[in-house]
Symmetry: C2
Subunit: 220 residues, 2 copies
């Protein structure tokens, strides 16, 4: 797969088929992760692939408990704002996101593969999220969809379930559910570049117009 | 460029030519960043491209001050360990890394392009480092080398220099120097997969052998 196609179309895929992800595909996904950069090339990371349905069964209720708390707090305010103007593009996007998150939570037990990532306590994310994103991009090339979730991070019971050493200072930084999607990959909605970037100062004019995605095609 | 080639060969490139990076190339690098995922698709990020040599001139001494402190503290212990066994592969790798970091620090003023990334205070990195890594991968496809540095993060004088709003809670999370490299891109050294990953538990057997990179070729 072309790099730019992957960078533009690896959107969150939460509706996944229960079909297993073959071992050689898992290997290519996981192997790509370790070639990402890390501070001083320390590679202070640890990954766990989970494809045991018995573990997924235990994770399901835990995930729903965690995402419930998130939906109750973080999402609630946004949802109220959306309810005031239910037909705005923002409200419709949020509603789609809610439905998709809810679907994934309710079908957690049938997700065929999870990639858990651990990093040292106190990490800033700079030496682990590039590796996780590499795995997600490599998955995209295999037709495997994924979502980056941090909702299970605080759950020490999950760490115990996965046999994470308790005295070495590792913390969970992400759980990435993976599987073949029911829908199609596509370019997601994003803010225009000019609203999130500047040249030589915070809001200095960029010198190019990029309100539309520069893929496919690279016309400015 | 093929996705897997990019994932395996986007190693840190610190020896850069002063040649400018054309505007259309910059646009493709920056545009790729915004299609990375972020929590709730909030896109709470801000990027600044810096190609003004006057700014690079101010940044040079600041970077050298910061990296000096890092070299003095963090690197010192590793360097001492290396000095005890100077011919080990680890010692030689560390020495190469030191030389390369030192080279970049001494030539900071002639770096043609920087990508600064900002995120909300208290962020865990999950919603910003995928975007930064996307930019670095997109740069790779253009033949542009880069390094992810977090050394300037604490420097509020840099934020002021770049006109970062002071009362909106933004923090610098990375500065990525970019330019055409003098050397060649290649697959970097990494630990064998089995030492940093497990299946269904921390050190559960992966079920495949991946001590060698699974690229080029995807034989297991």
């Amino acid at each position: 797969m072309d790099l730019r196609e992957a960078l533009y179309t690896t959107r969150s895929m939460r509706r996944l088929k229960p079909d297993p992800v073959p071992l050689d595909v898992q290997a290519r996904i996981l192997d790509a992760a370790r070639f990402a950069p890390s501070g001083r090339n320390m590679q202070n990371w640890h990954f766990i692939l989970v494809d045991d349905p018995q573990i997924a069964k235990v994770l399901g209720p835990i995930y729903r408990e965690q995402i419930g708390a998130v939906l109750d707090s973080t999402y609630a305010e946004a949802a109220r704002a959306a309810a005031n103007d239910p037909d705005s593009p923002e409200s419709r996007a949020l509603e789609r996101l809610f439905r998709s998150v809810r679907h994934q939570a309710l079908h957690w037990e049938s997700i065929p593969l999870f990639l858990f990532a651990y990093a040292p306590e106190g990490n800033t994310g700079s030496s682990i999220f590039p590796a996780i994103w590499s795995a997600m991009l490599a998955a995209r090339a295999e037709g495997v969809g994924s979502t980056l979730t941090t909702v299970l991070n605080p759950r020490k019971d999950v760490d115990r379930l996965l046999g994470v050493p308790e005295d070495e200072g590792w913390v969970q930084v992400a759980c990435v559910p993976m599987g073949y999607p029911t829908g199609r990959f596509g370019v997601p909605e994003r803010k225009p570049l000019a609203s999130v970037a500047g040249r030589n100062s915070w809001s200095g004019p960029l010198g190019f117009d990029a309100s539309e995605p520069l893929w496919p095609g690279d016309e400015l």
